[in-house]
Point group: C2
Chain length 520, copies 2
Amino acid sequence: MLQLSPMQKLRMEYQPKLPPLLKNLSTIGVVASSDVFEKPVISECFPNIAGQKILHFEANREKKSLPLKMGVLFSGGQAPGGHNVIAGLFDAMKELNSESTLLGFLGGPQGIIDNAYIKITASLLTNYRNQGGFDLIGSGRTKIESTEQYQTALKTVKQLDLDGLVIIGGDDSNTNAAFLAEYFLNNGCKTKVVGVPKTIDGDLKNEHIEISFGFDTACKVYSELIGNICRDVLSSKKYYFFIKLMGRSASHVTLECAMQTHPNLTLIGEEIEAQNKTLQQLVEEITDLICERASQGKDYGVILIPEGVIEFIPECKQLISELNVLMGKEVDLSSVSEHLSESSLHCFNALSEHIRKQLLIDRDPHGNVKVSKIETERFFIEMVKEQLRKRKSAGIYKGAFSAKPLFYGYEGRSGFPSTFDCDYCYSLGYVSALVLNNGATGYMACIQHLDRPAADWRPAAIPLLSMMDLEMRLGKSKPVIKKALVDLKGEPFLTFQQLREDWTLVDGYVYPGPIQYGSN
Amino acid sequence: MLQLSPMQKLRMEYQPKLPPLLKNLSTIGVVASSDVFEKPVISECFPNIAGQKILHFEANREKKSLPLKMGVLFSGGQAPGGHNVIAGLFDAMKELNSESTLLGFLGGPQGIIDNAYIKITASLLTNYRNQGGFDLIGSGRTKIESTEQYQTALKTVKQLDLDGLVIIGGDDSNTNAAFLAEYFLNNGCKTKVVGVPKTIDGDLKNEHIEISFGFDTACKVYSELIGNICRDVLSSKKYYFFIKLMGRSASHVTLECAMQTHPNLTLIGEEIEAQNKTLQQLVEEITDLICERASQGKDYGVILIPEGVIEFIPECKQLISELNVLMGKEVDLSSVSEHLSESSLHCFNALSEHIRKQLLIDRDPHGNVKVSKIETERFFIEMVKEQLRKRKSAGIYKGAFSAKPLFYGYEGRSGFPSTFDCDYCYSLGYVSALVLNNGATGYMACIQHLDRPAADWRPAAIPLLSMMDLEMRLGKSKPVIKKALVDLKGEPFLTFQQLREDWTLVDGYVYPGPIQYGSN
């Protein structure tokens, strides 16, 4: 028997806010209003969906929509709000025509290949509205890329007679959405494809897409925990916590959590890269902070480390890139060091055996080093401990160093979505339905003016190609949606840069506490 | 400049609920109503405070109180609500007589020894009301036990002319409170001592003390996170999470979190001990579950492990107890195995080198093995992986095992206290003031009927000696307040036992979500 917590029941009742324009769908028409720049090399790769305009919406018509049949899937890691994209999509489709049908592919893109799906119904959705996780239909990391996979996907959507397919995913999955849109059109298939910007990492954004969904909630969950740790540290005054935060390459999550909690030190990958820092320099900077705090009688503190930091340390990045190439060549792992450049070999040998092993053994589905598996939080503790030992011998440091590693990641991916993510995702679902109902394909659903109340939000749809560029993947140049890194000249980083000095010695911890839903 | 989060500000405004009797202190008198059993061996150790009765309170007088001067300190690990004990104590003292003074000893019991304190004022308290952590005055683990320490403590309280001392702590600290009460009386000192039951572990309770403060909040924080992990696991369907939960020896926290989230498997130390299970049996039970789930296509799940589990596995317990004795003798660490009994040596050798090291090197201030430092969550993963490898070779198991270790502890110790802990602690502070105002000493502040609304709560004070028994510590028999373990015949465990079967194969995860404060 299914048991629901009071919170699950409470949130089931919440009706997400919609921008006014989306409140009466039957009147909405699409206005292809603004041109958008697209790289010619990209247009060439996608002749069928090249040169599309940004879509805006207006209340300019009054006609009955035909019943739609659509599919939806989650791709990649969980992000809070995913269920609301499906709820919004479902509600909008039913509002457009009550005979419409929504199918949910099971276990991510693999569901299309396996033709495995369930029919989404109103009663099925009830328990999932405003709830965390992707468990209604599951997710997966299968990437549709081989000719055979494309053919199978085509077969599935044709057989199911789908008018549209909504892919809820990150940069890679939305890149895939563009390829599918192109492939379907090229093969005379009517199925249109729309992507929805999902990722807690916050690295899927650009001049049109203000933020991916899930980022808001994940940062709030992590910040609650970091704040609790800061308070604990300040109470017992005897531990250093090295907290690694999920977020793949970019340091957006870490930056945002730092702004919410004011830790003593925060590593930002993009800054480390720009300053061309070595691993040793980083370790010494951390050690300096610990020594300076110790001289003030403070043998405690909180240090934030972004998951992807290793890749931003130029010497480590070089090493990883050499390793990625070697892996492509299937070089024998035991002889790796013979194939490395001098500087990479130096960096490789500076790493602990444990980390070296992690670099060599764990690979992601794209064949790359699985940076998320590297326990940087423990690694830095070991390196810093060694430095402090030396300084203690030299009489420079007299403190006590007791450090604890922490990693916050999975806790934030499937938590209850914040009210913002509930509303945002629900609207994204609505926009997806509108785009597909208007026969557009190769778009990303979009809501603009997110910093304003939902009443002022502006729905739109952005051509996926406008976000794409060529990038080397496994030694080949491929069109991809580029990950948005932390902009060192952007406001969030500049604000952080201005404030962080104040947090190093004088403890200015802030305690955000748990997400509240109140009357929202 | 101090920055406060919206939650910090919101909670500062909250006025904790008090039982009606505590709302008009000037009318309250103490009624020493009920006798309580005390072991004669204990009474003998504390002749000055032996044979005291349980104190109840009644509105039976109307007289002006004299100004009081009191001290308060935190002892041991943080627990949500501690600041509200001080707030309640302060408010009650000021209500009894506005000239009263409250001093907060800094950094725990060490503050008495060092005569280090601050004066608690209303404005100082403002930012700490209903907030987490112990950072107003800090805490520490110094144990007042040597003759010199007792003398110094006596000197401090005499010099400060304290009428009373409130010790907010766990079993050990409240044991210490009894010793101090006895010592002060024996030395003709007027300072009375009251203990307040603090610990997130939930192991400081008895027929009179229903629960220690902090347990409620900590379990809710952990359950939020465990629920999020369960949802994540059910969405991606590819990981096993082995989650270790803080709570020192007893498995109360783990049991409570299991009831709130319904994980697939939960280890309960007390049950393992009662069933006389070996480490190998435990590992096989976990492996069995994983194999059975794999046969249903489920290569994912959540397993809860209490921090103290190792001590409850009889063979490990025996090993640890032998090690504790050896450590007392300062045996050379490298030759430890020569001094172990045959069965302990067998158990010792079955452990990984890493765990063996942890057992030998890390000791708590009492000289005992520091069980909390043992990374059981990783240890079990390694052992289970090895078992699965064997079963896979034998063709019995065909699943995929990808496991992730987690430890939740510090996050829950200093979080914002739940409304329950806010109210409970505030009332405990009031009761402490009342007890001391009435000249009683050697008591623990107590609130009964906690399962009812605060309006029905019943304040009381329980003689500390009634909770004490003799126990072996470092080879000597000492009077201590015994830790309350999970009662295998008690309702919480029996309910869990009845339900847990349903959670092993059919995923019945519950998602509690973050603590809400709403209009409470």
